[in-house]
């Protein structure tokens, strides 16, 4: 992508990872990313990541799905193709409810997946070279954004003394 350089700090447990994140942020280091094999509780807060806005997308599209499904059925059964079914009136709300419910769920679910893919720029042709393949297994990695590796490596090592790191490079 570009020639920014990073320092990667590896851990084999989440507890020192959280400590290290807090310490690095206290020392005003720029953390580019944290990679972990599973969601770590408290990490979002430690990195001051804002809450995801995906639920809003879900709500809007869910509401849209509900209106569309209900409106479509109401139109079909009263205007477009009215049929007498079981002696019920053409416009009978209880029959519309299950489909309205299902379409609401479908719209909300799919829109949230789509929003996630679009917002995080996930496309099929993306190639990803992991910093360390073990981040998909048992390794936790912090990437620190740095303009000059030589000086910063020393500084970060000194910041992190006392924390159980596996590797800093």
């Amino acid at each position: 992508m570009n020639n920014r350089s990073y320092i990667s700090i590896s851990f084999d447990d989440e507890v020192p990872l959280l400590e290290a994140v807090k310490k690095l942020r206290d020392n005003k280091e720029k953390i580019a990313d944290v990679l972990s094999p599973f969601p770590v509780h408290g990490l979002d807060e430690a990195l001051s990541i804002k809450r995801s806005r995906i639920p809003i997308v879900g709500f809007i599209f869910g509401a849209l799905g509900a209106i569309l499904a209900f409106g479509f059925q109401a139109w079909v059964f009263t205007v477009s193709y009215p049929l007498i079914i079981g002696g019920k009136p053409f416009f009978s709300v209880p029959t519309f409810v299950p489909i309205t419910f299902e379409v609401t769920v479908l719209f909300a679910g799919l829109s949230m997946v789509a929003a996630l893919l679009i917002r995080s720029h996930l496309k099929p042709e993306i190639k990803f070279t992991p910093v360390d393949e073990r981040i998909t297994d048992d390794r936790f990695v912090i990437l620190v954004d740095t303009p000059d590796e030589e000086i910063n490596l020393k500084r970060i090592t000194s910041i992190l003394t006392g924390i159980n790191t596996v590797e800093i490079r």
Partner: protein, 387 residues
């Protein structure tokens, strides 16, 4: 950690005063308005069912969490534990139904020549009715007592066997409760109109019980936090309670609608009679029921922030508590008291008596030990819980 709830004289006095007021107004309402025996007994049954449901729902809450070995509820487990201590009292109150059984249940009249009821005699007869009642309560009281005893033992001892036993009895309770809650709802509510039946009635009642219990636990947490207790119950725990209230209110609506939709579609006279009575004579209450129990918790608790404020969640929970009282009212009253049914002084103040009695027993039980069971294996996880 060693926090004790002090059941102050002030609280006792307030509860006893309210209960006395409730008893006086109820008696006055009975003698002045002359509501008729069946309406009075229907009120007794309604409140028995409602407050027994709170206890059973609380035990269900504990049992589910214990069987799944979840940690987060550990700091608040004494509250549902205390709520189950009402069950023996509920048993005595339920036995009172013996004196009003002829006013409530038409099938008790043995001179009745009714083909449908004749066919159900094997299940619906007075001796077996009370045998079943004793079996239900014996099981519930025994299993909740064992759950409470073993979790209470962890206050002083750190032996893991109590923890394991607690889980064992929770599992047994789930099985027993799953069957008996259905059967008891047929006995006490559905048989009010012995011609009518609905195959998912038991689930419907179960979910109602669970939602009320969740709401009541939340209200108690709110009250305790206001009084300065339970500092370690953080927004994360409140968030989880709110999620459960939200989810199970939706599930309740799902059940409500499933029952309504099938009966509406099938259009069989013996099934639709249930809804015809309720919609024709009690239209407003019928639609308020769905509104309060679905729309209020759904829109009230839908956002992230609204789930984390104990004051707001407790307000919604209080509305849900009233909503489910109305739900039971709709199940019981139109069938038992007919068109004479209504919500008046009698209903409100008899519920007040029961509520004071229930809260009194819960607080009494909570004041008996520390509010946190400090030897529970999950206590550390629960204290540091993040939702």
């Amino acid at each position: 950690m060693d926090e004790h709830f002090d059941f102050k004289k002030k609280y006792r006095n307030i509860l006893i005063t309210l209960m006395t007021v409730g008893i006086l107004v109820t008696l006055a309402a009975i003698f002045i308005t002359k509501p008729g025996a069946s309406r009075i007994w229907a009120n007794v049954l309604l409140n028995n069912q409602y407050f027994m449901g709170l206890s059973l729902g609380a035990a269900f809450f504990l049992a589910v969490h214990r069987v799944s070995q979840s940690g987060w509820h550990t700091v608040l487990q004494r509250i549902p534990d205390a709520m189950t201590t009402f069950l023996p009292v509920a048993f005595v109150l339920m036995l009172l139904i013996y004196f009003g059984i002829h006013n409530l249940y038409a099938w008790t009249d043995s001179s009745l020549s009714d083909k449908v009821i004749e066919g159900k005699r094997a299940w619906l007869n007075i001796p077996f009715f009370f045998v079943r009642m004793v079996i239900y309560f014996a099981g519930w009281i025994f299993l909740t007592y064992m759950m409470r005893k073993n979790s209470g033992a962890l206050m002083t001892s750190a032996d893991l066997k109590y923890h394991n036993r607690k889980i064992l009895f929770a599992g047994l309770y789930l099985v027993f409760y799953g069957i008996t809650v259905s059967a008891s709802s047929w006995d006490w509510i559905m048989s009010l109109d012995a011609h009518w039946y609905s195959t998912l009635f038991g689930w419907y009642v179960l979910i109602g019980m669970f939602v009320t219990a969740l709401a009541f636990i939340t209200v108690i947490i709110w009250f305790f936090k206001r009084q300065g207790y339970l500092k370690y119950i953080r927004p994360d725990h409140v968030h989880d309670m709110a999620i459960l209230i939200f989810a199970f209110s939706i599930f309740w609506t799902y059940q409500w609608f499933a029952q309504y939709e099938l009966i509406w579609y099938g259009h069989l006279p013996e099934e639709t009679s249930y809804y015809i009575t309720r919609i024709h004579h009690f239209k407003v209450i019928f639609f308020i029921n769905v509104g309060i129990n679905f729309i209020v918790p759904f829109f009230g608790l839908i956002t992230f922030n609204s789930k984390r404020q104990i004051g707001w969640v407790a307000l919604i929970a209080a509305v849900v508590l009233i909503g489910h009282w109305i739900d039971y009212w709709l199940m019981i009253m139109p069938a038992a008291a007919g068109e004479k049914a209504g919500i008046g002084f009698l209903e409100i103040f008899m519920t007040l008596i029961y509520a004071c009695l229930f809260i009194f027993i819960v607080f009494k039980s909570l004041s008996r030990g520390p509010l946190v069971i400090k030897n529970d294996p999950y206590i550390e996880e629960s204290m540091n819980y993040e939702s």
